[in-house]
Subunit: 136 residues, 6 copies
């Protein structure tokens, strides 16, 4: 089994909050991340897929295909966007990096499998100091 | 002359646009950075000050003081904020990183000089690939 | 299961040696790391905890709590300190990064579990080129 | 169980292609990486070994030994070399990073085990954005 | 005056040598970088341009234009290429990073000036440890 | 004029203090950096030299020579050492990074000039967030 990790980046605005709560309640639970005027990050996204390499080619997935899948399914939908307002696959969810990782997993899994590979891990660094991982 | 550079980070939302223009006009000039729903970044701020060291102490500015100045004058005002809406020293300016660097220079200069040092450079990386420098 | 990794840093002096050995013996076994006059590092500490997110909040541990735990239990005790001389939880152990990782695991485990999460991994980079991981 | 990861770097030229195919066929399958005039990378190699530490020494493998093994078995053979033409353990294989990781695993395993440790993972970053992992 | 630095990357093969010298003579002068079978790097290119910002727009050069110029004039010509064999603007020059920086300066200067900006610096990191700067 | 920057690293212990002051007085002036039990850092040293390249060779200084000079004059004397106690060129000076940069400048200047190059800048990062530069 070989694992390939592709690193991509996107810049987005977000806010962590529950609509039915007051700003004060959201502030108490989510802290400064619940700022009603938004804030944002340069998110770094690492997508790890795995598979068994073909002896003939020495690889199991075409990196160009993988990049294209991540671009179409994720980057084009989140880069320079508002995660709460504009991103379909985040609708109805609190815009935490945790939920973002799970949603990106769900978006990418079928497309990666169609390429004959397995999705292994979604890792997202919200800042240099905070990183989330999800293995399905 | 010795130069000290202090690195800080903040996460903020912004939008590049001119209010009197339509969204289409702003999109034509500023591209995806003019998204009306905002986007955001982890900005990395490098503040460089210079001075002549005291032979007795082997330094010319107390790093704790410098950190405190940057925190009070800048980080507390921009971190987890919306640069267009919530940051006083950006009011009336297009929220480009260029304008941000100039504004931060103007905010920090008097406080740095009160410490007996000179402000030399404000450098801001908006993303890993785009960096602005301003020397006054 | 979601994994969160928090990155922190601290600067400390240390020396790898066994007291009952001569300096020559320590040098033979531990190399330049046994210098009797100490040396030091900027240690980078990665703490990974895991848990199942609450659907309501989209997270399972409050990052502010996690930061506070790591600060109180570890950083305040090791930053700008001598690992051999001043750090209670390293007493009686050779001050290797391996032992440091195990000791930090033991210090953090109960506090992390009190927050309803599981400690998953302690990773410490002593230099950019040498990294230790411990999974309990 | 403790894991140690040692990071090393080497710069090499390579080309992904199958000799029996035309340049056009190789271009179709391997893309720009099949350029007949070669291209190259600064490869970053992470070697992770694991073991149980001796209580007496607080470590299970001498880092100097590990560095020496990686230098002799790998770095001296690939640094400033052409992976297709000059590296014995890559002969007859397509010079993908996938195959490189597997080959390095095979080269290092016996030497690491002779030191009383276990080889756990070979990770190679071909560029900042593409990383391969192999666990045997 | 505001300075903008754009970071780009490319992977290329090269060899430092003078054709009229023997391999031994080249090895003596250029060391392992003269390997006749080539080697390669992930070059990191930093292009710094300067100008005075328009108060109306808060910037002096469109970053998209700058990226396009660097892509067309440089990256498309050097990425996944052999610097000695395939890059027109390096013909007849020893393929050192020094000469590469000067050549890239000469390629970019007219195009940057046509955008109303000034080229300030070409910086190239051949490896993490070796960086060249040229200011014209 | 071409500028070359060579990056090196060393790990050392140090303490900022004046011998004739009490621990309390040192603590008041130098903060936690005056810990009598020492602390330490992974210092990153950047040495920038400049010169005019020979057209024949495409370079003005042999990088191997430059590395050797830095190794002999600096790294061998400071790596895994105590800057206050064991480093001759720091004797009688407060062990600040500012003084370290000036001292390293003085140590390297004659040797760099003997190679026909000019020393341009000594840059030292004590931590990722604090960097000192000295230009002579």
């Amino acid at each position: 089994m070989i694992y390939i990790t592709r690193k991509e980046q996107f810049s987005a605005a977000h806010r962590m909050y529950r609509e039915e709560w007051s700003d004060e309640e959201n502030l108490r639970v989510f802290g400064k991340c619940s700022n009603p005027n938004w804030h944002g990050h340069n998110y770094i996204l690492y997508v790890t897929v795995k598979g068994e390499i073909s002896e003939k080619l020495g690889l199991f997935i075409n990196l160009t295909s993988l990049k294209q899948i991540i671009k179409e399914k994720i980057i084009d939908k989140v880069d320079h966007k508002n995660l709460n307002v504009e991103v379909g696959f985040m609708h109805g969810k609190v815009a935490t990096t945790e939920n973002l990782a799970i949603s990106i997993w769900n978006e990418l899994k079928p497309a990666v499998e169609k390429e004959g590979a397995f999705l292994h891990c979604i890792r997202i660094s919200e800042t240099e100091n905070n990183t989330i991982e999800y293995y399905g």
